[in-house]
Symmetry: C2
Subunit: 309 residues, 2 copies
């Protein structure tokens, strides 16, 4: 009932409409081709599989068995396909392209590639990358049905700035924090790099579904034995899949491995999801003071975890 949902449905349907319209234009020039779209799809499956069976093609393309049967019959009559009985299974008919069939497929491939190539070339580079990125994304969305799993990795180019950008956007949208906050994050990541010592510091980026979905930084504190956990965040979309816990656990484990006696962190009470993560990891509040920050009245908290136990 949310209007967001209705809006999403409308977006996807608008996409369907335009794309249905463009489908012919996008894949091939079927005017000058001896194959229909459906035939071309069957031919593709025949060419990219070894000794397939008709039912395999039916499943791959979601077509009716009757239609595939007739298409294959026509292909056989045109001398593009030969069938032989499977040695393993008397009911299976192993299909394979003849030389003519492979030649026809190659010609179709060349033709199609050229058509798509022309379409791509005609687009402005900006639009081209936008189209290709979007195409890749949609493919990925439908590729596997398993829910996306998050993984941790180290810093790559763009990560430092992206952490500031994403935290800036998210906390501006969710809590109305101003640019002070984003600039503070930028300063922290810059300082992280400036003072970086591999035996004292570390950072992790959480990635899921090809996107950055969270971060956490480990830096040495003011006193020798104390480390600081900083810049923990999780993308709204990726909440509830254990990303925050993964990040905190990686950070705590590394702090322990580097020989720190304690791990401190600063946060504000309004970040309740983060609070739960810290609690669960064994952190305890050691200080709490009201404070005005980022254009809001907030309550600062300092948490600490004893690593010496």
């Amino acid at each position: 009932m949310t209007s967001q949902h209705d809006h999403d449905v409308a977006t996807l349907r608008a996409f369907n409409r335009t794309y249905t319209r463009r489908l012919g234009l996008l894949d091939a020039n079927y005017d000058s081709s001896p194959f229909t779209l459906s035939e071309a799809r069957v031919l593709y499956e025949l060419a990219t599989r070894v000794d397939p069976v008709a039912a395999e093609i039916v499943r791959a393309l979601g077509l009716d068995p009757a239609q595939v049967s007739r298409t294959l019959k026509r292909f056989t009559e045109r001398g593009l396909v030969t069938t032989r009985e499977s040695p393993a299974h008397g009911r299976h008919q192993l299909l394979s392209l003849t030389n003519e069939g492979r030649a026809a497929y190659a010609a179709l491939e060349t033709n199609t590639k050229a058509s798509v190539g022309v379409l791509i070339e005609r687009l402005h580079p900006l639009r081209r990358t936008r189209l290709l990125d979007a195409a890749r994304d949609i493919n990925a969305v439908f590729k596997d049905d398993v829910p996306p799993a998050a993984t941790l990795r180290g810093l790559e180019p763009g990560d430092l700035g992206m952490v500031a950008a994403r935290q800036g956007v998210i906390y501006a949208a969710e809590y109305g924090w101003g640019r002070d906050h984003e600039a503070l994050v930028a300063e922290i990541v810059a300082g992280f790099h400036r003072n970086f010592d591999p035996t004292r510091d570390d950072a992790w980026i959480a990635q899921a579904d090809g996107r950055m979905v969270g971060s956490i930084f480990l830096v040495q504190g003011e006193t020798p034995g104390a480390a600081k956990l900083r810049l923990l965040y999780v993308e709204p979309d990726a909440r509830g899949m254990g990303v925050g816990q993964m990040l905190v656990e990686a950070c705590v484990a590394r702090a322990r491995a580097l020989g720190y006696q304690r791990l401190d962190l600063w946060t504000v009470t309004v970040l309740s999801a983060a609070r739960k993560l810290y609690q669960r990891a064994g952190f305890q509040v050691i200080e709490e003071t009201p404070c005005r920050r980022f254009g809001q009245d907030l309550v600062d908290q300092i948490w600490s975890l004893d690593l010496s136990a």
Copy 2:
């Protein structure tokens, strides 16, 4: 001939294949519908236009006139559509849905929205936003054929970090600059905000096709009458469309308007595209020193533009 091009073609074709497969699943449940996909498209056009003419629908959907004529005939027989002659043009037949036709359309809409809604709801939020963003992008790509035009705007949440992220990624890829550079940019944007004075400083983001494609910053220099131009960059995809010039011109004009006597900038010689922009805007090199930065041997340059003339 580039392998990048072949790769792009393959990406788009892979997308076409999966999407052709999903098309039925994505838009509606046509099994339980009294309309075929083609009929539903015609019905949609009838419902969302006022007194259309058959030829209009033909153009909108890219269908054959014969097919539309027959579809409309069936609709008329089913009591969904009525035609009346146009008062303006004797050959035109104004089409309109009957009450039954509107009811059928409403039912189809409800059905389709529910189907698409279920599909969206079943996706993990991460995948959902990814799909919807991609759908929006592809729609936008095909929406207008005019080449994308760049516009300038002020800073919004996420921009500070994004400038660092994009410059980090681009200069790492193009010149092999390390994280030093990205951290330096992060520090500069943080400092920009920390010392921000609206009567002395400004910043612009160039935007094209819904994306950030460049930036430029204006800050006061060490001496009172001197301003500094900083962090100019243009996305590789957006080069050659005058984005850089727009940014430089905006910055110079503002520096002049704020009463600065001169505008200085620091750059390195390897950034040849930027050099041309500075030259064109009237900047002159006033200092040049070899330097080791960002893991590379570079030649620093300081350029200056006299604004007092």
